[in-house]
């Protein structure tokens, strides 16, 4: 049988246009690379196109799918190593939304730490920072809502230690 375009749901384009930027941002939060985040977004929207997820639930579904897919990619080794990426991009310093200045090197080391976290802990952290509510994070990861805060806090402590290690000159 000939293989042409994906035989997809008719609302795919509308959902894509409404959520693409957000899905790329979620994946970029995990991967720290726009190119790879776009690859993940493509994969996630392909899956969505074949699914019967109601369009109204698309935002949450896509965020969760992007998080899992990106975390898997982060650990898979297909990703360029943190060092290569830092070297390629140079030591530029980027001002951030929260008036914080975080170097590329720090970003890379934070992602290395993220890759070492247990999957559920990393996913909870990313989902929360991607704007999902505690109840949504709990549902997506099959956790009790009460344990989300503890899990997120624990993950943040680990990543923060990594940041501080780089910040303090030794």
């Amino acid at each position: 049988m000939p293989r042409g375009r994906v035989d997809v749901r008719t609302d795919l384009e509308e959902v894509f246009r409404g959520h693409y930027a957000r899905v790329v941002a979620v994946a970029a939060r995990v991967l720290g690379s726009r190119d790879q985040a776009e690859d993940v977004a493509q994969e996630v929207f392909l899956s969505f196109g074949r699914s019967a997820v109601p369009a109204g639930d698309a935002g949450g579904w896509l965020t969760v799918a992007a998080t899992h897919t990106a975390l898997n990619l982060l650990r898979s080794g297909r990703r360029r190593s943190a060092r290569e990426e830092a070297a390629g991009d140079g030591p530029a310093v980027v001002p951030d939304v929260a008036d914080l200045v975080i170097t590329r090197e720090e970003r890379s080391s934070v992602r290395a730490a993220l890759a070492r976290l247990p999957h559920k802990q990393a996913a909870a952290l990313v989902l929360r920072h991607s704007g999902l509510s505690y109840a949504e994070v709990a549902a997506a990861l099959e956790m009790s809502p009460g344990s989300v805060g503890t899990t997120v806090r624990r993950a943040e402590s680990v990543l923060l230690k990594e940041l501080n290690r780089h910040a303090s000159p030794e």
């Binding site: 293989r3 042409g4 375009r5 994906v6 035989d7 997809v8 384009e13 894509f16 246009r17 693409y20 930027a21 790329v24 941002a25 939060r29 995990v30 991967l31 720290g32 690379s33 726009r34 776009e38 493509q42 994969e43 929207f45 392909l46 074949r50 699914s51 019967a52 997820v53 109601p54 579904w61 969760v64 799918a65 899992h68 980027v94 951030d96 939304v97 929260a98 914080l100 975080i102 970003r107 934070v110 990313v126 920072h129 509510s133 505690y134 109840a135 549902a139 997506a140 009460g146 989300v148 805060g149 503890t150 899990t151 997120v152 806090r153 943040e156 402590s157 990543l159 923060l160 940041l163």
Partner: protein
């Protein structure tokens, strides 16, 4: 009052409304907790900033790329939806397929049917009557279609049964005490069914139970499993009153074929469904590592199980707690043989070991 947990303080940073009034009141008047909330807020901001990656996106380019992606995995497109809509649903087959689905492992290929589960042995899985009621109804997670009916029928004799099925009816060397007369022979053809996952149906079923499903793994939606079992033959001895006293049966054990996502994915997803009791899920997960063990759901409150050797194969011996019924089941070369009746387990084992 003791201090709220670190997790509660963390939630206070994001969702104060999600924290109880009592905890909020405590924190408002507790310098220690206020400091902890401040620290949590600062650290959350730092981590959030470190994770945020400025990624200006070109949505048009993204859409152009997606809409020209070749449809390698568009398996769903070939499914005739109207045919699936008319699928026959039979609880017994649904239960069978549920049991089979959760046991398999192995790989599934893109387009070809691959055998992913071939029964080589059976193993009892202890369930309580309550758990049986709680088992997720598989028909709620997709479309089941019975593709081949077994067409079970009574036949004149063992030779006819063999001619119909290609399976020799096991001959009993010596009937146990209390079993008399000539057996009635039954022959059954192959039973086949396909099961197609539907993320939409699963979500609806879960919503009806007030549960939220974990997101289905990529590719699961629309993927299909094909289940085949049989043919089979049986010899049944009955009392004059019509109550069976001894049944000897032989059937080609079930095989599952997959045309979709890797089977571990299916299994792990099924085992994570809400409603599956933890203990049962663990038993099934333990069994399912070799893709060859058929779990036999055994109501633990009614039946005890043990194992015994029958002609070199490990057989499962089941005995009802009231001692009135027993059964012995084993698998050899993909053929499952069972002996059951209202006789003792020892007598049944003798029958089993001397079958010809």
């Amino acid at each position: 009052m003791r201090h709220p947990s670190e997790g509660v303080l963390r939630r206070l940073v994001d969702e104060p409304a999600g924290v109880t009034d009592a905890d909020r009141a405590h924190v408002a008047g507790c310098p220690t907790c206020l400091r902890a909330v401040d620290t949590a807020r600062t650290e959350a901001r730092l981590v959030g900033a470190a994770l945020t990656t400025p990624a200006p996106v070109d949505t048009d380019a993204g859409w152009a790329r997606l809409s020209t992606t070749p449809a390698a995995p568009a398996r769903r497109a070939r499914v005739d939806r109207s045919r699936w809509g008319a699928a026959v649903r039979r609880p017994a087959v649904a239960a069978l397929s549920a049991v089979l689905l959760v046991t398999g492992a192995g790989v599934a290929a893109a387009n070809d049917w691959l055998p992913i589960f071939q029964t080589e042995r059976v193993d009892p899985v202890e369930v309580t009557s309550t758990e049986l009621v709680q088992l997720p109804d598989l028909s709620a997670y997709g479309d089941l279609e019975v593709t081949r009916e077994p067409g079970t029928e009574q036949v004149a004799d063992a030779a006819t049964a063999q001619a119909r099925t290609g399976l020799a009816v096991p001959e009993v060397a010596e009937l146990p005490e209390g079993v008399t007369g000539e057996p009635v022979h039954q022959a059954a053809g192959t039973v086949g069914a396909t099961f197609t996952f539907s993320a939409e149906k699963a979500a609806q079923a879960a919503a009806a139970e007030g549960e939220v499903l974990p997101p289905a793994p990529a590719g699961l939606d629309g993927s299909t499993l094909r289940i085949e079992a049989g043919p089979g033959v049986a010899a049944v001895w009955t009392q004059p009153t019509g109550v069976p006293t001894l049944v000897v049966a032989r059937v080609v054990a079930p095989t599952v074929y997959s045309s979709g996502v890797p089977f571990e994915t299916v299994r792990d997803y099924l085992l994570s469904l809400p409603g599956l009791p933890d203990g049962l899920a663990d038993q099934l997960r333990d069994l399912s590592t070799d893709a060859a063990t058929l779990p036999l759901p055994v109501p633990a409150d009614l039946v005890t199980s043990s194992t015994a050797d029958v002609g070199g194969a490990e057989a499962t011996v089941l005995t009802s707690r009231d001692g009135l019924l027993a059964a012995v089941v084993w698998v050899e070369d993909g053929v499952m043989t069972g002996v059951a009746g209202s006789v003792s387990a020892d007598e049944l084992l003798s029958v089993a070991r001397e079958l010809r």
